[in-house]
Amino acid sequence: MEWLNPYHLQVASFVLINAILGVSIYITLSTGQLSLGNAGFMSIGAYTAALLSTQHHLPIPVGILAGSLLAGVAGVLVGIPSLRLTGVYLAIATLGFGEVLRAVLINWESLTGGAVGVAAIPQMGRVILAWAGDRGFSPESLGLQGNQFISLAVFLILLLSTILSVAFFLRLSRSRVGRAYSAIRLDESAAAAAGIPITYYKVMAFSQGALLSGFAGALFAHSTSFVSPGDFTYHRAVEILVFAVFGGSEHIFGPVFGAAFLTVMPEALRFVSEYRYILYGILLVLMMTFRPQGVIDPPLMRAVRRMRKGRTE
């Protein structure tokens, strides 16, 4: 089992967390709302999960659930007043929400530990290994090293989480709700005239995005075992947006692809070391110049489907 490299699994794990984040911004975008608050919602999920497991010793799944729900509630609270805003105004107001939240995390020391962050958060893989170890299981029985097993466990949990999230929202996009979302995105007044309750759906999309960000944040906390306010800066918010726009914001696979590509690329570019972010910048400009709608767009998806059909026939 030598080929099972924890490094590759680690990068894959970050790809998956980022993919969930990408989907989270895609959902709000699918109603035409551009939210840059997802780093903020992510921090709510991450801190809730981290604090529940380190200070109150609750099991990890409880923390993840609580973190996601709390982020979702915050999404409703931010989403309702944000209804008055559109476009760049909304983007910057939500970015502002994230920055204010970060200032709170830094300054509310008694709860969050300030800039020092929360350390020694139980890591999912290690907890599973310990739990299984108590029951007489050893990873060697699968031909795995301890760290291989840990990385693999984290990867599989994240993979399952990502698949479930994507499947849920893929299904949603084909349902009544999804159709309402795209109607709102295409033309809000027309959608309202057609009797779609705009407010309800916009707030719902907003809080779904927030919930998913919080979910990703909670998973993040339990895979890196440390969170600090520095993890949820403006850079994170922009990074999430770039996943969606680069990959394509009109199909759910767009942000997933964007997250995967843009997470793997800096790793693959490690050999150019100090030049890699220069290349990253150039790539973004070139990409937007030649394919501004992102890599994956509905026509491409249709073409892929047609090709696959052609092959099976």
Binding site: T86, I92, G281, L284
Partner: protein
């Protein structure tokens, strides 16, 4: 202490205002948030620094060098990252925003390669000239900064409202197609806008160096974020709004430190915009409601 803090706040606010003027100009015409503006400002600052320290140039020459190089970068930005997107169908505003983000990442890292990380001393004898009025010390630089920001604001406002090219610019801002039909060379107007905005960024860059004596390759980001916040609560595309917003932010940050908690200093900008947007979504000086200007 109050007077000193007032002066601190006005100085900081004037610099914010100049940065915000650059943003508001580009947004007013193109409806695009130019995320690379902060980095162009930073580059201008470094060019000014090099002119002063390496070439021993007098201050006006440093300003000129900063303005010219920032303007040149604005020109390149428009040509490389904005214009190609304008002609493409399917390019949303998001796309141009991401493309300017790409430029900003590029510039920040190039500056790191060229100038190195960390703070650089920006020392000019001009920055040492001070007056003592009773217990309060006022630096000449502080007055100059306020004056330059006011002159830039007034000049910009006059140009937009009175001159022929200013009118052409506003027509372009109103509608690209219509302005084109009326015989305005819209591409040239847009380039001019980005170049002028960037040149102002260059001015602000040198002023920051003079006011605080230090510059580094990361300062574009924090200044850029503040600038963004200012144009939101000042009103997108409003010249007076940028000025008023800049001063308001500079003063509230300073007084937050003086009489409140310095830990929340960086968050004030965003608290302000959240409050403003909820009360008056078009911003303090914004004319049209947000919806109509999409």
């Amino acid at each position: 202490m109050f007077l000193e803090q007032l002066i601190n706040g006005i100085t900081q606010g004037s610099i914010y205002a100049i940065v915000a003027l650059g943003y508001t100009l580009v947004f007013g015409v193109l409806d695009i948030i130019n995320m690379a503006h902060g980095e162009i400002f930073m580059f201008g600052s470094f060019v000014g620094l090099l002119a002063v320290t390496k070439a021993d140039a007098p201050l006006p020459v440093a300003f000129l060098a900063a303005i010219v190089s920032a303007a040149a970068m604005g020109f390149l930005l428009e040509r490389v990252a904005l214009r190609p997107l304008r002609t493409r169908r399917g390019a949303s505003h998001l796309a141009s925003m991401i493309s300017t983000i790409g430029v900003s990442i590029l510039l920040e890292n190039v500056a790191h390669k060229l100038f190195g990380a960390g703070n650089h001393l920006f020392e000019t004898s001009f920055a040492e000239i001070a007056f003592h009025v009773g217990p309060v010390t006022i630096y000449l630089v502080q007055i100059v900064i306020l004056a330059i920001s006011l002159v830039l604001m007034a000049g910009l406002a006059l140009w937009l409202s009175r001159s022929r090219s200013g009118k052409a610019l506003r027509a372009t801002a109103e509608s690209l197609e219509t302005a084109g039909l009326l015989g305005v060379n819209t591409n040239r107007m847009i380039t001019a806008t980005v170049v002028i905005a960037s040149a102002m960024g260059g001015v602000a860059g040198v002023l920051v160096g003079m006011a605080f004596s230090y510059i580094n390759n990361q300062m574009g980001l924090s200044m850029g974020l503040k600038g963004l916040a200012i144009i939101i609560f000042g009103g997108m595309g409003s010249v007076y709004g940028a000025m008023a917003g800049g001063l308001l932010l500079g003063l509230s940050e300073t007084f937050m430190v003086a009489y409140g908690s310095s830990g929340y200093r960086d968050a004030i900008a965003f608290v302000l915009i959240i409050v403003i947007l909820l009360l008056k979504p078009q911003g303090l000086f914004g004319q049209a409601p947000a919806e109509a200007r999409r």
